[in-house]
Symmetry: C2
Subunit: 375 residues, 2 copies
């Protein structure tokens, strides 16, 4: 299978993406928010959560999983909290409203937690953590998902990839950590599958709960709920810390599905219902003292980490958020590389919704692309 990439400018993909979501029935403002979430992912080099996801969102809308007209509704609140009912709307829009609500409450109360039920895939968790960080706060964002993490000693996926993101203002770049509590995300498996490459050991489990390197088989089993899935961070055994990744997955689940009274990951995505849950936490550092001092304190520690001695053969120690800043600068200047199979999906989707793909993406030849699921 081909691993060719095509390069597009940020503006090109932005126009394309906004018009696509417009054609799905979203308003201009809504399309802008959704596009901003998707493209930050591509800018940050998180290919699995950008353009690669576009077709899946469209299919979700087609299948009725994602309801374009849904309005998120606050069903419970206090000065430091809210629970939002998503009514099966577009995840990015619900999450954007939830994080905006949390930021507003934190401005008054110093801390706020907002939980969300009955939403859908919201893109990268880090986008929402960054929203709070850009406003000067510590931001956290989490989401559950279709079950994909197999608990330690299990063989059936019971938790989602359950990412936890946290961002906090620092110089010269903010601290920005966004990671699934599984070893890797489903998106990574999809990329290996598209590239036709075997998975590294220590990532995935087959239907019997044993290690597997067959991306296609693992993905098929997950969809069919036949068993297997992705290992928790820490791998397969307690010796390597499997129970810890499983524990962080539970941490995420508590702030998403449990505190929203929503569906736990093992009950989402069944019978044409999504039911994804999210959690958002905002903390104003000023409730601990001088905001400038605290920011400088974090910045100093991050600098010390970057400057600390490297392991044999390594040339650089990264702090979280640094790679994303580097990737963003590069992609804004040199464009965003999109896998040709994803471009093929984008073409097919355009034709399906009545947009002219050539106008947005150029006249692409697909000899090497895998057949798209739209064909």
């Amino acid at each position: 299978m081909a691993s060719t990439y095509l390069t597009y400018s940020y503006d090109q993909l932005k126009t394309f993406c906004e018009d696509c979501f417009g054609s799905f029935g979203f308003t201009k403002e809504q399309s802008t928010i959704i596009t901003d979430v998707l493209l930050l992912s591509d800018l940050y080099g998180i290919e699995s959560h950008g353009m690669q996801r576009l077709a899946r969102y469209h299919k979700g809308i087609e299948k009725g999983l994602i309801k374009v007209a849904a309005e998120p509704e606050i069903v419970f609140e206090t000065p430091v909290s809210a629970v939002i009912e998503g009514h099966d709307g577009m995840g990015q829009l619900i999450a954007h409203k939830a994080m905006t609500t949390a930021i507003e409450k934190a401005k008054t109360s110093g801390i706020a937690i907002v939980t969300v039920r009955n939403s859908n895939h919201f893109g990268i968790a880090g986008y929402y953590a960054k929203m709070a960080c850009d406003a000067g706060f510590i931001g956290m964002a989490m989401t559950n998902s279709e079950a994909i993490m197999v608990p330690t000693f299990g063989r059936l996926a019971m938790l989602g990839s359950n990412p936890i993101a946290i961002a906090m203002p620092a110089e010269p770049y903010d601290f920005f950590f966004d990671a699934s509590t599984t070893v890797v995300t489903r998106g990574k498996l999809e990329i290996y599958n598209k590239l036709g490459k075997p998975l590294p050991e220590g990532w995935a489990l087959n239907a019997n709960g044993k290690g597997s390197t067959d991306a296609k088989d693992v993905l098929a089993n997950i969809v069919a709920k036949k068993g297997g899935g992705i290992m928790p961070l820490g791998g397969e055994t307690e010796q390597s810390g499997s129970h810890k990744g499983y524990g962080y997955g539970m941490f995420c689940e508590i702030f998403c599905s449990i505190l929203s009274m929503g569906l736990t990951s093992n009950h989402t995505h069944i019978g044409g219902k999504g039911g994804t849950c999210h959690g958002f936490i905002v903390i104003d550092p000023k409730i601990f003292g001088d905001v400038g001092d605290i920011k400088e304190h974090l910045s100093t520690f991050l600098q010390e980490l970057r400057e600390s001695p490297k392991s044999e053969g390594a040339t650089r120690i990264y702090t979280h958020g640094e790679k994303e800043i580097i990737a963003k600068a590069d992609r804004l200047e040199n464009g965003i590389a999109v896998n040709i199979n994803t471009v093929a999906e984008m073409f097919d989707m355009c034709q399906y919704v009545g947009l002219d793909p050539v106008k947005y993406l150029g006249d692409v030849k697909f000899e090497n692309a895998a057949s798209s699921s739209y064909k």
Copy 2:
């Protein structure tokens, strides 16, 4: 080296421990709190943080690292937060006061975060998370420590073992997750060292930042700050998720040292100064709806996890806190096994502080024990 264990009843160790801390200069009430933290660890089967630590606390007091007379002081506070200056006191006492403060604030505000600077080793983080959970809240507790975690691509320990604990009420047992953000804790390395066993692969790094199975060498390098240490959860490479464990370590550091303006792990335990920092979070579930419904929702999910299909060869899936409940019941009935080398240390410490060890621990023969550091 011997791996013999001696078994003592809970009450026997409680009396011994309380009298020891009394002899160090703590009040009866203070000794009871410290003992309760240490013995919960032994009851829960976390041998590394119970009696095994006793001698080290005593040495910390002797060296002036831990100041017996210190009184923790609230130096900054809001209705949802506080910063506590520990004045280099006993970690367990400072942490107990901090979590008590957080619980009181959460009773009024729904959420509270208390950070602590200039404290010392506080035992198991889970003890304090459990305090909040026993009061009906979600409790979190974190601490930094002497640098032991080597950041991804580094060769010098820059972060502590940085455990994150979270507990939340559930039936038939509470959710209770307490784990270092390293693959394992230093205590585990110390036990392997005491037993003279090589470390499993994927745990520790030598002074050049490369994998090592030599517990003695790794521990000596950590003490001498020569380089090396323990890998983040997720191991040595990004492929296995090393940057994620490093990220959770940073999460912990933010809530401990950064938001208290205290020492980051890489600056603690230098020049006769401890400087450990902690963080405590309490959330009242009632700010998200009906407390009974939420507890039932979590209990149902935990039950589904335990009942989900097992991997080939496995017979049981645990939820977090279950092993601790089983261990506690067993140890209350059958006693607590203490490594003979630890007992030897306890004997020597008794003689040093003028207590009669035989009165508390019986007439033990130490032919097989390693020579104690008190001799």
